[in-house]
């Protein structure tokens, strides 16, 4: 039951993040194809393979924020 609640909360978080995207946004994901913001949201709601991937990316990002990896490593300059 708790797992289901957590999953629902995660889904809502991911959808909220997607909803802030402007309408002129599209994303190319290799041979998966091209998707608009609204299409990405639909995939998250369906919890299909693409929806799960979007969730994975969000959670990976949150983990990175927690670890604080925001500095330039081994700067070589340009």
């Amino acid at each position: 039951m708790q797992n289901q609640t957590t999953q629902k909360q995660i889904m809502e978080l991911v959808i909220a993040r997607l909803q802030v995207m402007p309408p002129d946004v599209s994303v190319s994901i290799g041979s998966e194809g091209d998707f608009t913001r609204d299409q990405l949201i639909e995939h998250v709601k369906k919890h299909d393979k693409l929806g799960q991937k979007i969730t994975e990316i969000e959670l990976s990002y949150l983990k990175m924020l927690k670890e604080g990896n925001f500095y330039v490593q081994n700067p070589l300059g340009h």
Partner: protein, 213 residues
């Protein structure tokens, strides 16, 4: 010393359309530096032409643009160009840069075992965002630039004389700079940070870290 670069540039959907145009920048740089560039454009990005060109010209650097999977790189209309346990030996004695999904996971290591000098690519899907009102002018698309400039920085760095490891680091640094750029308070694109981080995190440089063009 002049080297030969082989570039695949299929162009048959939005993604490959953008890669087709963004690769022009490093092709021009390569030519300006006196290198020979062989470009397999559109339907010429097929297995037969690639194989023929590889055997005939022995390029030092191969730049793949297109789609991919863990064990393959594709060309025009998703035709498989190189696949694990098939023809990865075709990439022997070259530096390979792949702007496509996932091939860094299986094809990359397999090609290194089969003699590829170095392999720069991605271990998961490569995501890039673009402005769907600007698709007729990919090079003017500032949103796509945030992704494709770091992605192609590896090639620019190799052309400027850096090692594969340095080229990879420069690309990683540019990803990080763009993440920081979209997160500043007056940015209108902070949501892109997570996808830039995804691409940055999944980029790999395999094989000889000190290889030079």
């Amino acid at each position: 010393m002049s080297k030969t670069l082989l570039v695949t540039r299929p162009q048959y959907d939005h993604g490959t359309h953008y890669l087709f145009h963004w690769s022009i920048l490093y092709i021009n740089l390569a030519r300006a530096k006196g290198h020979k560039v062989l470009s397999l454009d559109r339907n010429r990005a097929n297995r037969k032409e690639l194989t023929g060109m590889m055997k005939k010209t022995n390029p030092r650097l191969i730049c793949f643009n297109g789609h991919g999977n863990y064990d393959l790189i594709a060309g025009y209309n998703n035709e498989v160009l190189v696949r694990t346990n098939d023809n990865e030996a075709l990439l022997a004695k070259t530096i390979v840069n792949v702007l496509a999904c996932s091939s860094g996971k299986l094809l990359g290591p397999a090609s290194i075992k089969n003699g590829t000098l170095a392999f720069i690519g991605y271990t998961e899907e490569f995501w890039f965002f673009y402005n769907n009102q600007e698709t007729s002018k990919p090079l003017a698309d500032e949103r796509a630039k945030l992704f494709l400039e770091p992605a192609n920085e590896t090639i620019n760095a190799l052309l400027k004389g850096h090692t594969t490891k340095e080229a990879y680091q420069k690309s990683q640094n540019l990803y990080l700079q763009n993440i920081q750029k979209v997160l500043v308070s007056n940015s209108s694109e902070p949501y892109l940070a997570r996808y830039l981080f995804w691409d940055m995190r999944n980029q790999v440089c395999l094989g000889d870290q000190n290889a030079l063009l």
